[in-house]
């Protein structure tokens, strides 16, 4: 397995401005020292609650927001560096689908033009770009004769999301970032779009980063999963093993909080109390310690490092590091 994308020490802090002179009063530590790799052909799922930094991570990868620190390299070439991959080249290779299907399409363009827009900007002749749009409409399961000349408001949410997938594929990217791409859809439509994503991945040899708050969907579509909490990665590894045997207390709580589908085994007690804390001035040391039932002095003193074991699994918790000072270590 070779890495298609590798990310090292990704960090983004947003200043919160206010007051008379509009000075920075505080900092939102949206993403803090996040490192991971995505192998060719795999699907990496990213899960976490609101404010955990999963969407900011996606935007940093696409360079939609400038990063503070860290390096991103695609297929061995670092992004932004002069001799390597320019942003323009990057967007040929890496595309994104957003949650809000309506906001990500131009309301004044027929959908076939929205799909052809990327190739046109990148220098494809108009007729070739439109022909590609027609092919892609077919590929995402929409009849070009019926849909090519429609406007976004004439489509349902599921159909619009198919258009967004087609638009993302128009430049023949190798990596597609799906940021809550099926979250706004009804269950029956969500299942159709998930099936489509699986088919397209095979057909076009794609690699996915799949971001969602829905743990069921992430388990279904991902090969590996990365769990984030307040801007930090807390656990990373193969999806089956993490869901079967979560190691980090937060991952355990997250999985335990999923509603049961079994009327005879309802959830008796919520695994965590309270809401996730504000990412402005997060807790010192381990950011999860304020909600963790096992927290001890060492958790406040030092942040745990993400320790990778031999089987491609990583956990950031003092309890799992012998000699860390935690009584359960």
């Amino acid at each position: 397995m070779s890495a298609l994308l590798s990310v090292d020490g990704l960090t983004k802090h947003f200043p919160v401005r206010g007051g008379l002179l509009n000075r920075a009063k505080a900092v939102v530590q949206a993403v803090d020292d996040v490192s991971f790799e995505v192998a060719v052909g795999e699907t990496l799922g990213i899960v976490g609650e609101s404010g955990c930094g999963k969407s900011t991570t996606a935007r940093l990868l696409m360079h939609l927001v400038p990063l503070d620190r860290g390096t991103i390299s695609f297929d061995g070439k670092s992004i932004g560096a002069r001799e390597d991959l320019s942003h323009r080249d990057l967007h040929r290779q890496m595309q994104m689908v957003f949650q809000d299907s309506y906001a990500s399409l131009n309301p004044r363009l027929p959908v076939s033009m929205s799909i052809a827009f990327g190739p046109l900007v990148h220098g494809t002749p108009k007729s070739a770009a439109l022909a590609r749009a027609i092919d892609l409409l077919q590929a995402v399961g929409l009849d070009p004769l019926l849909f090519a000349n429609r406007y976004p408001h004439e489509l349902s949410g599921g159909q619009r999301q198919r258009i967004n997938v087609a638009r993302a594929l128009a430049l023949e990217p190798r990596l597609v970032i799906l940021d809550e791409a099926v979250s706004a859809l009804d269950k029956s439509i969500e299942a159709q779009v998930l099936n489509l994503l699986i088919d397209l991945k095979e057909r076009f040899d794609l690699t996915y980063i799949f971001i969602s708050h829905d743990l069921n969907v992430v388990r279904f579509i991902s090969d590996r999963v990365m769990v984030m909490y307040l801007g930090k990665v807390v656990e990373l590894g193969p999806v089956g093993r993490i869901y079967r045997d979560p190691k980090h207390p937060y991952t355990k709580a997250l999985l335990g909080a999923m509603p049961s589908m079994d009327t005879r085994r309802r959830t008796k007690e919520a695994p965590l109390s309270g809401d996730p804390p504000n990412p402005i001035n997060p807790p010192s040391g381990c950011r999860f310690r304020t909600r963790c039932q096992f927290a001890e002095a060492v958790c406040a003193a030092a942040p745990p490092t993400l320790e990778m074991d031999g089987n491609g699994r990583a956990v950031a918790c003092h309890m799992l590091v012998p000699g860390s000072g935690h009584s359960l270590a």
Binding site: E49, S50, S156, G158, D186, K187, S188, I189, E190, A191, Q192, L194, N195, I198, D199, H213, L215, N216, V217, R219, F220, I221, S222, V239, G240, Y243, R244, A253, L254, L255, G256, A257, M258, P259, S260, M261, D262, T263, R264, R265, R266, T267, K268, E269, A270, P271, L272, S273, G274, D275, P276
Partner: protein, 343 residues
């Protein structure tokens, strides 16, 4: 249970919305009874008419643009026959409602304590200080930490989960016998959602309320409901005890919905998705509304509206082919019903 009069009784409820261009048939003949202390979960996708049904129960539909037919009785009150002034008396005391978005349900310019106390004074005519004391008890009941301080908070000073608890306290302030819940956990993170679900279930049992809980999430319905009604195109297509509906779904739509909830599906394999999209509610198909998307549908399904077929005690489905014993819906794999179970 026979003999116990239901606290909510709905007979053949129909709701239409008229616009200059078209008429939307949002609810098309819904009937159910709910006893004290029971929870009915209405499960449906967007546009199925589940929220409209709920709003009709508390008389919240816009009077000039909506047309409501049928009979709704809540705690002995005939809701459909009531005027706005009478409804105002019933709301809060007999029937209360909680919403998905607490920020729009709470008044942003009053503190939580003021809003709860005002409601109690208005309905029960007790003194303000007495009402404030009750508000304090209510915040403790919904497990808001440091209740005295929180009473003086404005809604924007609270987190999402805390606001949802405050809204529940407000709804329960005059001890309603019926609580309506419109997707109250949908906007919350999973770890907060489960806290609210556990709290609601506990309060419902302590206070013996009847609850009608509307959701699009099968898991949430299973966690809260004794009885589940699956709604499609303005009708209940299957109703029954939660256990029977989930373990042995009879209607093809229920089966499809369970199959597309992903849980239990093998990783990376295609899901058994329901094809097509929900019908246009201005132009409902003749006969069974689900027939155009149903893989079992035949010619008869397009002709007649399927009647309610009793399957087992309390379990009903509206499907001609199920009635004729011609089809059987595959139940979900039981060993995989709970996430974290060995895959």
């Amino acid at each position: 249970m026979r003999g116990v009069p239901p606290v909510v009784s709905v007979e053949n409820l129909r709701v239409r919305f008229t616009t200059p261009d078209a008429t939307v048939h949002a609810v098309n003949g819904v009937s159910f009874d709910l006893e004290r202390g029971r929870v009915l979960g209405i499960l449906g996708e967007s546009g199925s008419g589940k929220s409209v049904t709920l709003r009709a129960l508390i008389g919240l539909l816009p009077p000039r643009r909506s047309h409501v037919e049928g009979r709704i009785t809540v705690a002995g009150h005939d809701i459909t026959a009531m005027g706005e002034a009478e409804l105002r008396e019933v709301r809060g005391t007999s029937i209360a409602m909680i919403f998905q978005e607490p920020m729009t349900a709470l008044d942003p310019v009053f503190t939580i304590g003021e809003q709860i106390a005002e409601t109690i004074v208005r309905h029960e005519g007790i003194s303000h200080s007495e009402a404030w004391r009750r508000a304090h008890e209510l915040l403790e009941m919904v497990q808001i930490p440091s209740a005295s301080r929180r009473l003086k908070n404005y809604p924007h000073e609270m987190s999402g989960g805390m606001r949802q608890r405050a809204m529940i306290a407000l709804a329960l302030s005059c001890r309603p016998s019926v609580l309506l819940a419109d997707e109250p956990t949908t906007a919350l993170d999973v770890t907060v959602q489960i806290q609210i679900i556990v709290l609601l279930r506990q309060l419902q049992q302590e206070l013996g309320m009847a609850v009608v809980f509307v959701t699009h999430d099968v898991g949430v319905a299973v966690e809260v409901a004794d009885h589940i009604a699956v709604m499609y195109a303005g009708r209940f297509v299957e109703t029954g005890p939660a256990d029977s509906v989930i373990r042995s779904p009879a209607h093809p739509y229920t089966g499809g919905l369970l199959a597309s909830t992903v849980l239990g599906a093998a990783q990376g394999q295609r899901l058994e998705a329901i094809p097509g999209a929900p019908p246009d509610m201005t132009l409902l198909p003749f006969g069974c509304s689900f027939a155009p998307r149903c893989r079992f549908a035949d010619a008869r399904c397009g002709l007649d509206l399927p009647p309610e077929i009793a399957l087992a005690s309390d379990h009903m489905a509206r499907c001609l082919r199920v009635a004729a014993g011609e089809i059987e819906v595959t139940p979900p794999k039981l060993d995989k019903l709970r996430l974290g179970d060995a895959a």
